[in-house]
Assembly symmetry: C2
Homo-oligomer: 290 residues x 2
């Protein structure tokens, strides 16, 4: 037989669990701390079990509270996501796509005009999101590189394999086809978010990764590429992000690119593919393979 405790009480508890503070939870839910205190107590009575207890000036979760909180947080996040989605799609709101700042700047922005031409009916908003960040409410989809398997509770539309390779200023190597191990004599640049990039590439080329000497690590891919552009050394980057620089001759990639297990994918919050998401995915696939 069905029997859930008061949902509002669960919501109050959830906010308390997130903030570990009744007053902070109260502020979040736009009520007074008294209301929260009462709701939590109510929930404890309904579950016949203490969930939070005072700990100094704030509160702490009990064992049972901790277990329950794991579920409530996941659950309320999903609910919020889903409601937001419904509300925004009903209001014919623009489709909000999140992607990393570097991808945004180096791949997407240069192709926005083309997108507008190809899909004039698609109202797209772009926003930079943290590389590994989950989909937030307010964002309809996220474009990111990652390795399968994909999480089961999200839909991931695979768009293209990731290909990485060393890139540098054209004046660094003058020859047509320099030997790969000439790299070792040059300063190498990497990003902190992908420490595996250089070793991965080396293994694909048959070079011992332990010979690598990294000269400098950058916080973001963008900074690393700027470094390569001013001649700091040799960067390792995904092909898509340097296409423009290669085309215009500002960078060269003498050894080409090798495929990695990573895939560029369009991550959707739920299982459903909205028409806008499908349209965008189709266009992205086409644009990426050009």
């Amino acid at each position: 037989m069905h029997s859930l405790p008061s949902l509002n009480a669960l919501r109050a508890f959830d906010a308390v669990a997130r903030t570990l503070s009744m007053s902070a939870a109260a502020k979040q839910l736009h009520v007074t701390h008294g209301a929260i205190s009462r709701q939590v107590k109510l929930l404890e009575e309904q579950l016949d079990c203490r969930l939070v207890e005072r700990a100094g000036r704030g509160v702490a979760l009990t064992d049972a509270g901790l277990r329950l909180a794991r579920t409530t947080q996941e659950v309320f996040d999903k609910l919020e996501q889903a409601c937001d989605q419904v509300k925004r799609s009903a209001a014919n709101a623009p489709f909000v796509l999140g992607c990393s700042g570097s991808f945004l700047a180096r791949w997407f922005i240069p192709r926005l005009e083309q997108l507008k031409q190809d899909c004039p009916e698609l109202e797209l908003h772009l926003t930079a999101v943290d590389e590994s960040q989950a989909i937030r409410p307010g964002v309809d989809a996220v474009l990111r590189f990652a390795e399968p398997p994909w999480p089961e509770d999200q839909r991931v539309i695979e768009l293209a394999p990731e290909r990485i390779g060393p890139v540098m200023r054209p004046d660094l190597f003058r020859e047509e086809a320099p030997a790969p191990d000439q790299l070792l004599q040059h300063p190498l640049l990497e990003t902190l978010s992908r420490p595996q990039a250089w070793p991965q590439w080396c293994r694909a080329q048959g070079i011992d990764p332990s010979q690598l000497r990294i000269k400098q690590s950058f916080e973001h891919l963008n900074y690393m590429l700027e470094g390569a552009l001013v001649g700091l050394g040799v960067a390792i980057a995904p092909e898509y992000l340097v296409e423009e620089d290669l085309r215009t001759g500002r960078l060269q990639a003498p050894w080409g690119f090798v495929e990695t297990p990573s895939r560029l994918g369009l991550w959707l919050p739920g299982q459903d593919i909205s028409p806008a998401a499908q349209l965008l995915a189709d266009w992205l696939r086409a644009a990426l393979s050009r």
Copy 2:
């Protein structure tokens, strides 16, 4: 900024989505149909979007409703599960373990005495559940055979690999080590739930699966084994389920058993492993490897 619609309205909508009927939903939630109708309407206003529409005598979900319902159902199921868990563990309720009827009858029941001796403090209730069925509220864990990968939102404690092999009455083959292909001349028994069992075993033995001729299919493993016991033919069964019959000499397994990709696992509803679950898992692992 956070903003969820009324949770009670969501709950009402969820019940409507499940039953596709306002009155049925009303009955489930112990309120009148008017209350449900109002709540759904309220939700539609808050999301600014129609979710259900009249369809003849009942109601049907709109596109948006369908999408939302997927989330609400998952979410409320999880919530109920979690609350149930907390409530029962607080009440020091017995640990309820579900497993298939055949495993229950042929493996677990014969070892209950042993379990009671080994873990006297573990209050265990057993209940037969459908092979592929999800964990219901009221059940703390389920014991089942399945192939990895495991779902991300559940904890699965792997206990042992599945090993299957042909079993039959001892009077069917008198020799010590009959050749495997002698099987083909005997009537073969299978279960509908594991049509892959015979082909799997054959491939492991180097026999062409297409030569197999299945004589009879049974609804449940138990029935098939009963069939083998009365001499209907050769059954293919997991080792654990026939251990007792082999020990007592009622069945023989001349070719032994081969490992399959399946694993016997203890499936828990959430991420957490309760003390009782850990105790049970440890005992199971030990008992299975005896």
